[in-house]
Assembly symmetry: C2
Homo-oligomer: 268 residues x 2
Amino acid sequence: MHPLDEAIALKPGAPDEFTGATHPAYANMVGPFGGTTAAQLLQAAWLHPSRLGEPVALTVNFAAPVAEGEIRFLARVARTNRSTQHWIIEAHQSAEIVATATAVFALRRETWSAGEAVMPSGLPDPASLPRMPALGPIRWPQSYDMRFIEGAFPEAFDGQEQEHSRSCLWVRDEPGRPMDFASLAAMCDSFFPRIYVRRRRRTPIGTVSLTTFFHADSSLLAQVGTRHVLGVAKALNFRHGYFDQTGEIWSPEGQLLASTHQLVYFKD
Amino acid sequence: MHPLDEAIALKPGAPDEFTGATHPAYANMVGPFGGTTAAQLLQAAWLHPSRLGEPVALTVNFAAPVAEGEIRFLARVARTNRSTQHWIIEAHQSAEIVATATAVFALRRETWSAGEAVMPSGLPDPASLPRMPALGPIRWPQSYDMRFIEGAFPEAFDGQEQEHSRSCLWVRDEPGRPMDFASLAAMCDSFFPRIYVRRRRRTPIGTVSLTTFFHADSSLLAQVGTRHVLGVAKALNFRHGYFDQTGEIWSPEGQLLASTHQLVYFKD
């Protein structure tokens, strides 16, 4: 079983309740990688017997550090319409909320479709780029195969402020795993904090809010299979302890799979 | 009293409960302008006796059409930390949920700060541009003073597909009103649907999810006063009944006040 599938394995309990746990393959410096928590919150709605359709929007608010161990998920249908469904999901540890989420699921239909943003072109193949080496003892980045074209995790925190914080990389689950909504939801949190790229200076950070829009349905995701996808990320603004981070995930064929936006706390 | 202040006037009831109503100055084709609903949801947390700090992130999911008349708001603190606070907010009509929201509030501090995105420059002054005329019987756009530089509401729905859906405009509340979080939250939903700009073709649309990150604190917002701010908007992708819409709101001095992202349903 793939570590991500182990990480999102939730056990149903009372109605609307599921139990999961943190997974060592997705451990962060303190507690779990937020992407896995996001995927677990989404999975609680995905596994719910009342689910309609597939996710189109997910917002996760990280309310407190998640401790290693068991997490209790509460997934409640706020409203079901003919083709859309609204969810409120909570993650609890020791009777306290550690994360909240809302999700919109929908039945998608064929319509006029068009891209407007365009995937960067003329990029080297993933196979021609080196895989990012391990980040010391931090485990979760090793659960991804990341091959940076621009804006890698700084080799040294030398305090040399950069002109921008843009990154561009090929990324996939490691070991390989067919792309699906859980993988995509987690991957949308896999961009390193923009402030590290911009400032090359260590500062405590923590994502407070993460929104992902899923532009792809499950059949488009299935076409990606286990190949690398292209991730691009940037920030718009850093001010008074918070910065934003915007990312896009593109299929190898240039289809936008997800766009994602997060607001991140930083200490100084 | 300004119409927006009337629209966001909520009456406290039982603990965590507030009652408000739709306002004729913000009527949309059917039901109210979503920006006002977003501002009301935010206001329920803002007015709550347990509130800590100021909003940094707001996500509103529009679950069903809001009917004209009374709306009951439920604002619940999910978690309060030393410098952040997490909210789950619901809007009810006739015992059904019509919208859900989550919000993150925070005490902001002075830190290293830097812009990364840059406001478009060399733009004409608002006073040198014509105000957008009324959109037939639809009331809410008349509660804004909008002066388009690019990507105006199409003069004709002639079906001429455009190369892109970008808009750039000066906008303020009409009548003038000092900028604050309520005004900014509502204004972030005031960009017309990107699909109208792109396709110049009518199709039923409806925002399902709207996320706004507030990059400004109340003192920076106060500096804006009643002047126009610059709005820019674009879409990344239109596919299978949903498109995204990204916007930025800039102060006249070029400070990013908010970035906003929504996912919008379209029929065909």
